[in-house]
Symmetry: C2
Subunit: 564 residues, 2 copies
């Protein structure tokens, strides 16, 4: 029995919703939808459109992982605009790959827009949607939304929070941030500005959760310089430092310290050169030291050289990995050189980074990693900083984002312990923010897409699962040829991939073919005439025999050819 | 021109050598050879025979990784004995798989021998070589070697160093160790004993390097109890703790603390039950609390239950992972329960462990990991402890082992800074220890074997590399059937694995077959008649077309069948 509803009430049935389609319950591929309007007629904006990087465990061979936006794509006519909070891959990397399915204007600050522009170019996608915008108090109207970029510090310049005004109240989406009063490059945290922005009351703060488990206050980028300079001064050989290419402030800190220590600076790695280039072009980096080319670098005394290189996460093709095993552009490292990881290793990359450290150690290069905590600071707000921003903004509701499930849960716990309303919203959970208490309104399909070769595949298609099975089990491909139709004669030939092939005269291939040709002779006419049954019989026979011979159950692919 | 040698000198040409075939330059698959005698006529002993665990990055589908002992197997007639220092997998795990190729007597202390016995049984290998032995001053004669087990603490009971007396001097092989005066179970560090053993001078100390980068002194296992008990007391729900199954002392600390907090103890996971069983059988664990069965556990109040479970490294089939996603033997975890990782995450396992933590968080279970450093201590000697053992033993030479390259290098640096002779010896480097200064005598082949299914494959065979290629690139198998010989007619059929299959009516398989059948018509008669050339032409065509269609270069397997 449905309850009686007075017609007048329907006027107020507009709702404000928040819907993460990526980035909530994971660190990566951020994509957050906000909607306002009558249910199923809301107008939308999208904040960020990022990627996640694949790994061998779960996504071998995949280039990039993207959020599956099928839900939003079906409603693309209701999408007013896309806003990009900052220039990190997990916030902007999917834009060129998914924009054509959304076709809404994309707003970003100049440096962020320049990075996005280069991405569109790289994928040969028209960049007609891209709009460069100013910060608060400048406002962008997007349907029922009025949006402003609020500058905030992070580990890449021009990071911003978004102030999202709606008829149902004011939402602040922090983006990735830290509270840094001396960020070296980019905008310092301006408490007064934040008080101003929040002055009229904030309905919901959608907030970065990355460092919620770190109980000390965050440290400023500006504090790193003395330790780094001291370290560089102490070295008599080449000094190499690696960090994220997008961490322009860190690159400046490193380069300035190197210059003061009497060293020429050489940038190695395409990503790093391009980032510095974009930062200079957009005017956010004006006083970076002059850099020398790799061929100039090879000519100057080792104690006068400092290299800034890509590959802080152990990426095998980046410069750090290359330098650890041999020359890179005529530069090689030797005993007495110093290698600094001015970076934190992202979980999952430990083995790759340790491989580089071991290879450098073999060369006698001294390696300084992040364990001392003196040469790197995080770009995310720690627990006390999160509490501070909650207090300044004083929202009715906090919604943790940008975190794995454990981060989101901890962030909610922290809020509730402080007497503040909060809710865990994971990818696909549509949260109704209209009232005092947030509620899960619906759960919509969400997931991942793989950019593989140059096609986009939904993760659920099983293509990559099939690869993993081949990697774990090996594969036997069988060709079955029926040479006569009256009294059928069959010939089976196999090819074996990723399995032991035999030794001392024993040949797996011959053993399998012999067994197959024998067992096919025992099959009934009905099985022999039915492709599906024949295939299944062949598969069973190969598996049984392979388990028997080497204890593995391989993948089996069967190709049946019947001649007239 | 060869130098003139006086015949008399050859009498003294006996040498003492150390040759790691596993464990030096890596943490895992320990296998250390010592030899004494004339060059190429030395008699040998082998210390430890362990495994390494595979991973998806480099060894998908492999069960276990073992040292390649081909060099030693060719000289097995000169092998006098095998000594197992302790019961960890990386020291004893390869014994049942490689023993039949070595067939030397295996010496181990009672608990270690019991673990080895169970391993032989598991692989149905005769355990005729196994000899249970006593500790120092008991001596084992093995050709020119006189060997004693010197008790020392580690994270598994009955860990031992080996005192190896030779005509060329005394070698001490530490095995894995820490200096613990209250190890809860097993032998405390006995400085007096060590002074006694080292009293007559030690030529070489071959020394654990695992924790050489940790600059504080190691902490005792005995100190953990109060923090653990306090934590358990604080919980109102089920308390679950996980650690390595072989860490009997930790299991006892945890179980005792649970019992004192009024909880019944339940062991979950085969490895854990078996380890406790072996420890009780061999008398090294006499006062472990009574444990209850899983069905009993399901019946008692949550606040009176403590589970000790396997899977501290995130192993997907172990109990921790199972409990994090659902029930395990009728026990499930709910909000208010507590899960303690009384363990350190081994590099490479971070993602798997975090997955469990995220799943537990989703259930509302409070998770305590190793970040606080209050609920776990390492089983390895830290830098100050290494210095202490160097001082006590006062060897002429230190040879670091049980470490990645960076650990070995750092350990050597530490020795040299203290004025002590040391040398980096990686797997395959035969070190001559006869004189004051150690020298690399030869480099012998070393490497890895994969236990895959139930066969042993040398890593260099490329079987696993082939699997990785399929995982990265996908695979197209092509059957080419030549149906007539006079004027040959060909039919190509393909099967596609791990690649996009098409959508909206476009079918990859059909597109590839069409292209193949078309291009085969353009091949010259010479190519068509030569299997190798035909195969290569087909492979090229498939790759070109697949790059064209989806931007991937797949693996291609071709099976040619020619009908008379």
């Amino acid at each position: 029995m449905s309850s009686i509803r007075k017609p007048g009430l329907s006027v107020n049935r507009q709702r404000l919703i928040y819907l993460p389609l990526g980035g909530a319950g994971e660190i990566g591929m951020n994509a957050y939808v906000y909607g306002y309007g009558e249910p199923n007629k809301e107008r939308f904006i999208l904040v960020d459109l990022g990627i996640t990087f694949p790994d061998m465990d779960s996504t071998p061979g995949v280039n990039l992982i993207l959020p599956d936006l099928a839900w939003l794509e079906e409603r693309a006519d209701r999408l007013e605009a896309i806003f990009i909070s900052h220039a990190h891959e997990d916030h902007v990397g999917a834009l060129p790959l998914l924009w054509e399915d959304l076709r809404a204007p994309v707003y970003a600050r100049p440096f962020v827009a320049e990075i996005a522009r280069r991405k569109f170019e790289e994928y040969s996608v028209a960049q007609e949607g891209l709009r460069t915008t100013e910060i608060w108090p400048h406002q962008i109207e997007a349907g029922p939304f009025t949006v402003s970029f609020i500058p905030l510090s992070h580990s890449v310049p021009e990071s911003s929070s978004l102030s999202i005004q709606t008829p149902a109240g004011h939402v602040i989406h922090t983006g990735d941030f830290k509270l840094d009063s001396s960020p070296v490059v980019g905008d310092a945290f301006d408490e007064q500005l934040w008080q101003q922005v929040s002055a009229d009351g904030v309905q919901a703060l959608v907030c970065d959760s990355t460092n919620v488990f770190v109980t000390r206050s965050g440290r400023s980028e500006g504090k790193l310089s003395p330790a780094i300079e001291e370290l560089i001064q102490s070295s008599k050989g080449v000094v190499v430092a690696t960090t994220f290419a997008s961490n322009i402030a860190r690159l400046k800190t490193l380069a300035d310290a190197g210059t003061r220590a009497g060293r020429s600076i050489c940038l190695l790695g395409r990503a790093m050169r391009r980032m510095i280039e974009a930062a200079k072009e957009t005017g956010i980096l004006s006083n970076f030291p002059t850099v020398i080319s790799p061929s100039e670098a090879a000519l100057i005394p080792r104690e006068n050289l400092m290299l800034l290189v890509t590959g802080s996460q152990g990426e095998p093709r980046a410069v750090s990995a290359q330098l650890s095993v041999g020359r890179y552009k005529n530069i090689d490292l030797v005993a007495g050189d110093l290698f600094l990881f001015s970076s934190k290793t992202i979980p999952g990359n430990e083995k790759a980074v340790l491989k580089i450290i071991n290879n450098l150690s073999r060369k006698g290069v001294a390696v300084i990693d992040d364990s001392s905590d003196r040469f790197h600071v995080s770009g995310h707000a720690n627990q006390p900083d999160l509490e501070r921003i909650h207090t300044i903004v004083d929202p009715k509701i906090v919604i943790p984002m940008h975190g794995e499930r454990r981060h989101l849960e901890q962030h909610v716990t922290m809020c509730r312990e402080g007497g503040r309303e909060a809710i865990v919203a994971a990818n696909g959970m549509m949260i109704d923010l209209t009232n005092e208490v947030p509620k899960v309104a619906e759960t919509v399909p969400s997931g991942r897409m793989y950019f593989d070769g140059d096609v986009l595949i939904p993760a659920r298609d099983g293509v990559v699962r099939d690869r993993i099975r081949m990697a774990l089990n090996g594969l036997v491909a069988v060709s079955v040829v029926q040479t006569k139709s009256s009294k059928p004669v069959f010939r089976c030939s196999v090819v074996i991939r990723g399995l032991w092939q035999g030794e001392n005269g024993f040949v797996m291939k011959v053993a399998l073919e012999t067994e197959l040709n024998k067992s096919i002779g025992r099959l009934s006419g009905q099985v022999l005439h039915d492709d599906e049954e024949l295939e299944e019989a062949i598969r069973r026979c190969v598996r049984k025999e392979t388990v028997n011979l080497i204890g593995k159950r391989p993948e089996v692919s069967v190709i049946i050819t019947r001649i007239a």
